[in-house]
């Protein structure tokens, strides 16, 4: 107890209550951002974690690496770098085989109300507001296909509640965004250049302290005239080995991406932190 005052990295949260890292680096599920603050720091401590995520669908693949820091279970700062590989489609589009889009995402999230875990006597969820600034390195191509910008900012409000008596974690998130395919294809399009309101929903059933099964759904804008963009969803299993390491495996469906319909496949994510 004496050295507690110095234990900044207290790993004092309960297992799994930091969530995992979503695609853009925020604490959440795989696709959706949650109101939970990343890492295992309590309101008296700090938690840090890094993630590596691979998404492999029929005609494309994506890697995301990043890190997040949770400050006093109140503020989360995150960074993620995503590399989207067009594989053979790149050649078909005349960009070249394995042409890649790279995107940086800088995120911040603040918990504004409630506690998802302790407030079991209330219906109030934990509520957080967040922002994600995204910059894509392929501005020229984005403009050529009708995109408005190579960078954009998403704003979201997330509500997350652990229904502990039911072993069920539920999240609902509303996002204001102009991003095409999460920002991988830039921001705004010829059909719609403005912000639109999108929805993210998740539910996870806790089978044990270490193992959760769940599903997510995330709507996306449809800004391009030349290519349909669909909603995305996944079915996931997350395994929390301990407070330092977790693994997530999912079946993910991203819908149409440019000239290829029904892009579905695997989502694998490793997260490590303290």
């Amino acid at each position: 107890m004496l050295d507690k005052g110095m234990a900044l990295f207290d790993t004092g949260k309960l297992l799994a209550t930091g969530g995992v890292s979503q695609l853009e680096g925020a604490g959440g599920g795989g696709l959706s951002a949650w109101a939970l603050i990343s890492g295992y720091g309590t309101r008296d401590g700090v938690g840090i974690n890094g993630h590596v995520t691979y998404v492999g669908v029929n005609d494309y693949s994506l890697w995301s690496e990043g890190a997040a820091i949770g400050l006093f279970d109140r503020v989360e700062l995150s960074y993620a770098h995503a590399t989207f590989d067009t594989e053979d489609v790149g050649a078909a589009l005349g960009l070249g085989k394995n042409f890649k889009f790279d995107m940086d995402v800088y995120g911040a999230k603040v918990k504004v109300a409630g506690d998802a875990v302790y407030d079991q006597d209330s219906w109030l969820p934990q509520i957080a507001v967040g922002v994600q600034y995204k910059h894509n390195d392929r501005g020229a191509i984005i403009h050529a296909i009708g995109g408005k910008s190579d960078s954009g900012t998403d704003y979201y409000v997330a509500a997350t509640k652990l229904f502990l008596a039911e072993s069920l974690l539920v999240d609902a998130t509303v996002r204001e965004t102009r991003a095409n395919q999460f920002g991988i294809l830039g921001f705004g399009g010829d059909k719609d250049g403005d912000y639109s309101t999108q929805f993210e929903g998740s539910a996870a059933y806790l089978l044990s302290r270490k193992f959760a099964l769940g599903a997510e759904y995330r709507t996306k804008p449809n800004n391009f005239g030349i290519a349909q963009e669909d909603d995305s969803w996944d079915l996931f299993a997350a395994y929390f080995l301990n407070k330092n390491i977790s693994l997530t495996a999912a079946y993910v469906d991203l819908g149409n991406i440019v000239i290829k319909d029904s892009q579905h496949g695997v989502y694998l994510s490793l997260q490590a932190g303290f």
């Binding site: 107890m1 207290d10 004092g12 949260k13 008296d44 302790y118 006597d121 502990l164 302290r209 759904y217």
Partner: protein, 144 residues
């Protein structure tokens, strides 16, 4: 657009399911599922053992009469689980106000209780039903 409506339907279905489960649980048999008075006394005693073996919180009990503590913890568990018992100890607020406990301490207590319930073969879902009733005590126990 069709898919977007599906997203909304998905969200509403989850909230609906959650609400109906919540209502269905209004009366339950948690006390029996935790082994009744004897089962809860055993869980309380094992939890107290875990506290004393837990480097994070054991110093809190340096001046505690553990026999009395075990008895009171058993009474409290019984009451919280919905059993026909009377808790004869102080309120949670009074009992903890001088201790200066933080959330990490509270979570350590939760983990020690989980370990005790594991030892007594309480299924995970039943453990969570019990923990859901105890979790709001964080408001009174944590003062730091």
């Amino acid at each position: 657009m069709k898919v977007r409506k599906l997203g909304l339907a998905f969200a509403l279905a989850i909230w609906g399911a959650v609400l109906s489960i919540g209502i269905a649980h209004a009366d339950d048999t948690l006390y029996q599922d935790l082994g009744g008075k004897d089962g809860l006394a055993k869980i309380a005693s094992d939890t107290a053992d875990n506290f004393l073996a837990d480097d994070r919180i054991k110093a809190t009990f340096d001046n505690t009469n553990m026999d009395r503590f075990r008895k009171l913890l058993g009474e409290q568990f019984c009451v919280v689980a919905g059993g026909p018992c009377t808790y004869t100890g102080r309120s949670m607020k009074d009992a903890h106000k001088a201790l200066g406990l933080d959330n990490a301490d509270f979570n350590a207590v939760v983990e020690d209780l989980q370990k005790a319930m594991d030892k007594n073969n309480i299924p995970f879902a039943t453990q969570n039903r019990f923990l859901a009733r105890l979790a709001p005590m964080q408001h009174d126990v944590v003062t730091k």
